[in-house]
């Protein structure tokens, strides 16, 4: 599997992401500067977390129009796999490669803490490392993670099994209106979604930051194991 990690000005989680892939595959992903106009030869493109372009205008808005995104879009249209975490998720929604948008957290606070996620996505390499309904812990660090979309879009995502992850309690209970569980106020507690062909996935929390015991746990490993098993 050949993985490329896109680096925008202000990206800051690219090395955490590279380390997670190194842990499961023994191989180091290649960093791709945002001004490149080709992503040929890769199996997976990752848009990592950070604050691309200082979150100016809207989080992810400027990054979505960087030269490399044209190539990433074409790559996805041809069936390429794309993963966006945190700012990467924001960029994917701004680029309209995933539906919806990420608004300011409902409580206005930047949230830097652990959350629990329920695995709900179906038929996707991004969720295949878990069993449907599994619950895992993941760190989050964002100011704009409040997922929103039109009600019919939300219905469609749910109907098609394209809600990849939902915020929940440690026991797996989803509580939309509870600010201690659905901390950023996301519509229907949605933390991550899949594209129509299930090959593009975006999520706000950071599974890559829990992939080794020295980091405090390996709860995020199944994401990378699932990808590795599928793409080799």
């Amino acid at each position: 599997m050949k993985t490329g990690i896109v680096v925008f000005p202000g990206t800051n989680r690219e090395r955490d992401m590279a380390q997670a892939f190194r842990v499961v595959s023994g191989r180091t992903p290649q960093m791709l500067w945002h001004q490149q106009d080709s992503v040929e030869g890769f199996d997976l493109i990752v848009l990592p977390g950070g604050f691309s372009f200082g979150d100016y205008l809207r989080s992810g808005a400027m990054g979505a129009h960087s030269p490399i995104m044209k190539a990433v879009r074409q790559f996805a249209e041809k069936g390429g796999y794309v993963l966006g975490v945190c700012n990467g998720f924001q960029i994917l929604t701004e680029a309209q490669m995933l539906p919806g948008a990420l608004l300011r957290n409902a409580g206005m606070r930047f949230l830097s803490q652990d959350c629990h996620l329920k695995v709900e996505g179906r038929d996707s390499i991004f969720t295949s490392g878990w069993k449907h309904g599994d619950v895992f812990r993941a760190p989050m660090a964002h100011g704009d993670g409040n997922y929103t979309a039109a009600p019919d879009v939300l219905d469609r995502l749910e109907g098609e099994g394209r809600v990849a992850f939902r915020y929940c309690t440690a026991e797996g209970q989803v509580k939309d209106g509870d600010e201690h569980v659905n901390m950023n106020g996301s519509a229907r507690s949605i933390a991550g979604v899949l594209s129509e062909n299930r090959r593009v996935c975006g999520l706000m929390p950071h599974p890559e930051n829990l992939t080794e015991e020295i980091l405090g746990g390996t709860d995020g490993l199944p994401l990378f194991n699932g990808i590795m098993e599928a793409l080799g």
Binding site: L57, R58, A61, M62, H65, T93, E94, P99, G100, A101, L103, R104, N105, A106, G107, M108, N146, T148, A149, A150, G185
Partner: protein
């Protein structure tokens, strides 16, 4: 020509900033303040002498970048 693009959250989209400002206004004694919404104004110049063309250009830029039509509405004015 100078163009002004107003970008605001669509009706029904929660505006946490607006809510926070509303609470602050209440605590300052402005109890009557309600429905506070924060919008964004982008001023820019476009190279054309036609007000109509300037307005159209502004709208084009709003659709491409300045507004996210999933959550925001926009309106364009030519200001000189």
């Amino acid at each position: 020509m100078k163009v002004r693009v107003f970008v605001s959250l669509k009706d029904g989209v929660l505006d946490p900033q607006g809510k926070a400002v509303e609470h602050a206004l209440h605590s300052l004694g402005f109890e009557g303040a309600s429905d506070v919404r924060i919008s964004r104004v982008v001023d820019l110049c476009v190279k054309t002498d036609s007000a109509e063309a300037a307005k159209e250009k502004g709208a084009e830029m709003a659709r491409a970048l300045l507004a996210n039509e999933v959550i925001e509405d926009f309106r364009v004015e030519v200001v000189g």
